[in-house]
Symmetry: C2
Subunit: 334 residues, 2 copies
């Protein structure tokens, strides 16, 4: 049932403007004027990211709008997490072929549930007609000089990844059906559901990013494949990288559905993980367990920054030959 | 010629990160990491807006990418102008069917020329593949309490509009060709070019918005049709509005191409003007000439805020009967 545009905003998006903040809200004027007025806390840098999800590129046609709303915000919060930033506000540009209330209700619920969980207020944006897409811009804070960046790593720093990379890529493969090239083995139905949900409802590692401030020497979020993104961290830090395939943290669900060989391939080259990859100086390792505890997330050492440029993926002491190209879509963060 | 995504960013978008600011730049870290780090000047509120342009909804298929890049930023700067805000930074989400260098070069030039003119630095965003669209998010500053809002008008305040509304809608009609329902009269070719350029390359009234701080009681940008947007200002201010058709400032170009009757209709109901509509208390009128001088833009009194709710469009002392619905696309600012 198509509904009017003002009804739509009032009913589903305006309530998302008042998420209970973990810190001060700072919203002087939210949804409803030409722009939002925001009060950035004194002594904080502003952190800003914008990512777009497009039907057919980032999610499959017919995808549950609950997932689209969740992911549109999650991929952006993941960018803030990678900077060690506390999220605060979001703006949403939602493009829809038609104003279908059922779609909008579910999209707003997926977006709103995640926003409430991380204390993010929706403060502006627009809705427009056109091919299905969602652009979200998020704003957060970080104390001056404490942001995690890609370029702070040094030779000898150990490289970690949070969670279990590869799950989301396998989940997308399952969502694609036969075209995804994955069949669910007998008895692995629950594992398959786990993987699908890892793609459809990723958890941005906001708390981990905050806990890594002052400890990680560099950090990046894993969206385009672990090997590719870890390689970007190494390259930005002026280093090379050795990754050890045996060290990859693989979930039981991924192993059950894909088997060891393909699980490793998914973990190295699959996209959409939204985990954090970060480097820690060996002298600081003793502090990591406490940070992971505060971050509410496990992480595993998967490699080391080396002096020679380039990416070396090792298995059983030799070059693995596993593909490391990552996500080679025409898609790129500015 | 398709080019690689990293080449694309380095060549065309990274240079837009260093526009010479009119004020302090405040960019700690721009394009190239997971998010931008920005230093908001002490004692300023942040002003944030996000607007999306979609092919077929906001611009015609085959539109010059120079215009798309210009308009994607201009419509957002217009939102900042309506708040009396000084623009500072932008993030860009650009969705393209393919990475065509010629398109990207012209888009970036259109975006970049306008950004340089208003001291805006491009600090982040993403490029992605999909149906042609551009989401831009802009950030600016305003001293606390000095922002122009829609809801500050009072009964008796006079209502003004800048520039010459209706030009852009007529220009779009001309761009549509025969489907636009406009034919260019003999001798009006130059006027037609003027109108087309008013649609393709609108000037956001940033300086006027700044000059109206502390003087205008309410302000809105005119994007969906003057009557509709002026009505929103009145409604947000808890007033009604009388508009006088004779007072509409009409350009010679519009009169030459469309004639008086249709010119008035374009001015009242056409979209895409990106002028400012604002109210001024009668007691402050003496200060307006100086503000318009500083704002670099003319403005004309077109009506008055009245106690009775609703919009009354008067012509020759009686109800005009002119349509006032404005832009009724499914398109709405949050």
């Amino acid at each position: 049932m198509p509904i009017g545009e003002f009804d739509l905003i009032d009913r589903y998006f305006r309530p998302l403007g008042s998420a209970p903040r973990r810190g001060p809200r700072g919203v002087v004027l939210g949804v409803g004027d030409d722009a939002a007025l925001l009060d950035v806390p004194a002594g904080q840098w502003l952190v800003a990211a914008l990512d777009t999800l497009v039907e057919g590129t980032h999610f499959l046609p017919g995808c549950d709008p609950l997932s689209i709303g969740h992911r549109a915000l999650a991929v952006n919060l993941s960018d803030l997490a990678a900077m060690g930033s506390e999220p605060a506000w979001a703006l949403l540009g939602l493009t829809l072929p038609s104003a279908e209330e059922r779609f909008i209700e579910a999209f707003a619920r997926g977006f709103g549930d995640l926003a409430a969980r991380f204390g993010v207020s929706l403060v502006g944006g627009d809705t427009t007609s056109g091919p299905l897409a969602a652009s979200v811009q998020v704003l957060g804070f970080v104390p001056p000089g404490q942001a995690l960046r890609r370029d702070g790593g040094a030779v000898g720093d150990l490289v970690f990844v949070s969670g279990t990379p590869g799950d989301a890529a396998a989940g997308l493969g399952l969502e694609r059906g036969p075209a995804g090239g994955l069949t669910v083995p007998t008895g692995a139905a629950a594992a398959a559901t786990t993987l699908r949900n890892r793609f459809l409802f990723p958890t941005p590692r906001v708390d981990l990013g905050l806990a890594l401030r002052g400890l990680a020497s560099a950090c990046i979020d894993v969206s385009d494949g672990l090997a590719a993104d870890a390689g970007k961290l190494a390259s930005a830090s002026g280093c090379g990288l050795r990754l050890d395939v045996e060290a990859l943290p693989l979930s039981e669900a991924l192993l059950d559905v894909a088997g060891l060989f393909r699980a490793r391939e998914f973990a190295l080259t699959g996209g959409d993980d939204y985990e954090l990859c970060f480097s820690v100086p060996p002298s600081r390792l003793a502090e990591l367990a406490d940070a992971l505890e505060r971050g509410g997330c496990a992480a595993r050492c998967i490699g080391v920054l080396e002096p020679e440029a380039g990416l070396r993926v090792r298995l059983d002491g030799r070059d693995s030959g596993l593909p490391t190209a990552g996500f080679d879509h025409f898609r790129c963060a500015l």
